[in-house]
Subunit: 280 residues, 2 copies
């Protein structure tokens, strides 16, 4: 099975894309609704919670796990990859988003908007630094300065989105305020570094204008995974193909299913509650 | 020791009031920062988390525990009181707030603003129904209709307050929107049913006008506790008087202390991290 982990609901938009692109595989999803959102917690707590979630998915039979949450990817992915080594594969959201941004950007002025924890982790900067060496090499682009990242934390957008206040003037004013420093920095590419933000994608595009490309990190993660399986037949062949979908939540099933089916855009048949214990 | 439990930071404003009114006692505080906020979770999750927190405080030597969180009080207090019986005393925020509202209200049109879970629990209505029989009995008041409660969930106020956006126009617009139905219902008393909201008390008062009394549930809880100790010398005599203050958090110490000292209005000397396990 393909495991998908999220701190809450946003990762279901990644799963939705995966089900479109790769419907034949079996999926197991875990959302840590009882402890969501991770975005304002310490890195220490985020690592512990993410590890518990990912361990659960492997124990349930996942052969590979996608962390469909920018906060968990930014804070915990490297720690988990170091721990599991080559035996258990865990993929995150950051590398695909940065690769895509480097390909789409014309002048290397890249913006990032995400939770406080994602921005503070500095991991988007680190990946940009590394990946620039590989992806910033076309003749035209080489002539430009090295790519830079301007990162803005936007902690109020997740609650606004979960409230369904997307189109209200208050939400637009708050969005405008968050985007101000990115507009002033004249970025040409904006990474939506939180799986909730695609729900506001049109508003982001309108506010940033035509000259700024928008990178939807969840969609990009799903597309990158298609590519990953093509490049890794040794992993692809371990995956089962019965079209199964199993959902787990750390809060009550009713609470999860209610909002979750809206994010996923379809019904969830098999849903169960699970208890993860803090062992930090 | 006197135990004080909160789902996050807001309960520190209750402790602040307690330290003013009853500085001579010893206090132990636990904030569940790793799983805060509780306000949008299922009742089931809130009961489990609150029970874990309250158990921890009793194990650490608390002789009585105050739940300084409206969400936890609304969803979990009765379950815990039923479980502990007379052996372990647990007090919440709702009864003191409702008693105060009944005393201050002239016409019995009482408003409540709180988290989604607090409002959905219906426990403020239940307490109002019960306590009206005792507290709505002056001649003048008896002539009035039975008191009624108009409750409004305001889930965006906690993140706005934690962001420090209190005085920004966006916060005012959102507050105005939430208060609209309460204005229309012409309430004469408003219960601030969340320990974060006192930080916006002036804005609430200004928006609601002079004819509406504002009940700060945290402050009222602290005042009611002074009264409780006077009426219960058998509990008062079990409490130690060395002026000790111990703080525990489920997230990292640095993360807690940073914001926590702002809520408390003073330095925290003894702070430690603790791990509560979900055993639901």
């Amino acid at each position: 099975m393909i495991g998908v982990f999220d701190s809450g609901f946003g990762g279901l938009t990644v799963l939705k894309e995966l089900l479109k692109l790769l419907p034949e595989y079996d999926y197991i999803f875990l959302g840590d609704q009882a402890r969501t959102p991770y975005g304002n917690r310490s890195q220490e707590a985020i690592i512990t919670f993410t590890e518990e979630g990912v361990n659960f998915l492997f124990e349930k039979g996942a052969k590979i796990v996608l962390i469909a949450c920018n906060t968990a990817s930014a804070d915990a992915l490297r720690a988990l990859q170091a721990k599991y080594g080559a035996t258990k594969k865990v993929l995150g959201t950051i590398i695909p988003a940065v690769e895509q941004a480097l390909q789409k950007s014309r002048y290397g002025r890249i913006g990032l908007i995400g939770t406080r924890s994602t921005v503070q982790s500095g991991n988007y900067e680190k990946e940009l630094e590394k990946l620039s060496a590989i992806h910033w090499q076309s003749q035209e682009k080489k002539a430009q300065k090295k790519p830079t990242l301007i990162a803005v934390p936007a902690p109020l957008l997740v609650p606004l989105i979960e409230e369904g206040w997307l189109r209200r003037p208050e939400a637009r004013m708050i969005l405008k305020k968050y985007l101000m420093p990115l507009k002033h920095a004249n970025i040409d590419t904006l990474i939506l570094g939180c799986t909730h933000f695609p729900l506001l994608e049109k508003e982001f595009a309108r506010k940033m204008g035509k000259n700024c490309r928008i990178i939807n990190s969840g969609k990009v993660q799903a597309e990158a995974f298609v590519n990953y399986l093509e490049r890794h037949p040794e992993i692809e062949k371990t995956l089962s193909h019965e079209g199964k979908r199993e959902f787990f939540t750390t809060d009550s099933v009713a609470h999860f299913q209610n909002l979750g089916e809206k994010f996923l855009g379809q019904k969830m048949k098999t849903v169960a509650q699970v208890s993860l214990s803090s062992t930090s």
